[in-house]
């Protein structure tokens, strides 16, 4: 399989980054929901550090994916797809990319406004601010949490549409991203 995309299929880089992001996001969301309830121990601090490190990784990888998408051809939507659905698809994907940037970015702001340094797997990317910014902290926290709810809703729609294409329309849309499955048509 080629690394680069073509007009009718995703390359291995796009596929790899897609699924790597899926695994990371599902882990981040799960840990994110439970970590604030952990008892106050050094372990809780380590969990938070990992959450922030992986979150920043998703931010960076998404930026790279977007760049790749601009530089590379994107496989065409099925010919038979009506215009309204094309716009729904474009909006849905734009929404996913937007949230995959906005959620870690708001998390980063939440961290910054709380006067924490920016961590990345044992490194410090950015020193702490010096003081707490209560308003920014509250706003960023809200944006971070509600962003996740919106993402979960979009993810359900995204997966649902993929299954619709595969099981109802019986086209290659899903298989293009899951090449281990048998090809349609």
């Amino acid at each position: 399989m080629p690394i680069r995309n073509s007009i009718d299929r995703w390359g291995s880089l796009s596929i790899g980054l897609h699924w790597l992001t899926v695994v990371m996001i599902l882990s981040l969301v799960t840990v994110g929901f439970v970590m604030s309830d952990l008892p106050n121990t050094p372990f809780k601090r380590d969990v938070y550090l990992l959450h922030k490190s992986f979150g920043l990784t998703v931010l960076a990888l998404t930026a790279l994916r977007l760049l790749w998408r601009v530089l590379q051809p994107t496989p065409a939507l099925p010919e038979s797809m009506p215009t309204s659905q094309r716009w729904a698809a474009r909006l849905g994907h734009a929404g996913l990319y937007g949230l995959m940037l906005a959620i870690p970015a708001s998390g980063w702001l939440y961290n910054w406004a709380s006067n924490f340094a920016t961590p990345w797997f044992g490194f410090t990317l950015l020193a702490r601010a010096g003081a707490v910014d209560r308003e920014l902290k509250a706003t960023a926290q809200l944006a971070h949490e509600w962003g996740v709810y919106a993402l979960l809703a979009l993810l359900l729609t995204h997966a649902g549409a993929a299954f619709w294409h595969h099981y109802k329309l019986r086209d290659n849309t899903l298989v293009r991203m899951t090449p281990w499955m048998k090809s349609r048509s």
Binding site: N40, T41, P42, F43, S114, N115, F116, A117, T124, G130, A131, V132
Partner: protein
């Protein structure tokens, strides 16, 4: 013969014991008066609002520091009257501020200051000595989390109508069970915490 010597000895011992208990004035006149009289109290001071009491340490290689916003210091101090000097400082642990709300919450919790159960720490000193470089040492006691341990405070005294006291001490946090259990790893958070104070003083009226 032996009997009479023994009897004489017993009589002598009894007699001197009787003399000691029934003649208290004799011993008073024999001893120097200075050891019995109390020292005159040194000048009393209160702290002005810009006084600070802070602590600094590090966690996992990252330095951090904080201050106690609320503390009251009742000081009697005169460099010429160290025996009459006294420090009595009450520290409201709940006023600790390290510019990080999550860390402050942990600090007030039961693993660290345990501020709800024991809201105050207290530092008292009645013995002082002068160092060769002109500074002083208060040989004081810190009471924290129900434990009292000696903590010397080394300080400079800038005299005048509004004196300034600048001092520092090293407090071993584990001596007071601050940061126990999962937090007791001194490789991650050192045992010795540096405490610093800068007190702007006014005469107490």
């Amino acid at each position: 013969m032996k009997l009479s010597i023994g009897a004489a000895a017993a009589l002598a011992i009894t007699a001197s014991a009787w003399a000691a208990t029934s003649a208290p004035t004799a011993s008073a006149t024999a001893a120097p008066a200075a050891a019995v009289a109390a020292p005159k109290s040194a000048a009393q001071w209160t702290t002005a609002a810009d006084s600070t009491l802070s602590f600094s340490t590090s966690y996992d290689g990252e330095d951090f520091s904080g201050g106690f916003k609320q503390f009251t210091a009742d000081l009697r101090f005169d460099p010429q009257n160290l025996p009459g000097s006294r420090f009595d400082v009450l520290i409201q642990l709940g006023s600790a501020n390290t510019e990080n709300e999550e860390r402050d919450e942990t600090l007030l919790g039961s693993e660290f200051f345990n501020a709800i159960a024991a809201p105050q720490a207290r530092y008292t000193a009645t013995r002082f000595r002068k160092l060769a470089d002109g500074r002083f040492v208060a040989e004081g006691t810190l009471s924290l989390r129900g434990l009292s341990k000696p903590v010397p405070l080394t300080f400079s005294w800038a005299p005048g109508a509004s004196p300034t006291l600048v001092g520092s001490a090293a407090v071993n946090r584990l001596d007071f069970n601050v940061g126990t259990g999962d937090w007791d790893d001194v490789e991650v958070m050192p045992n010795a915490v540096k405490v610093e104070t800068r007190l702007s003083l006014q005469p107490k009226r």
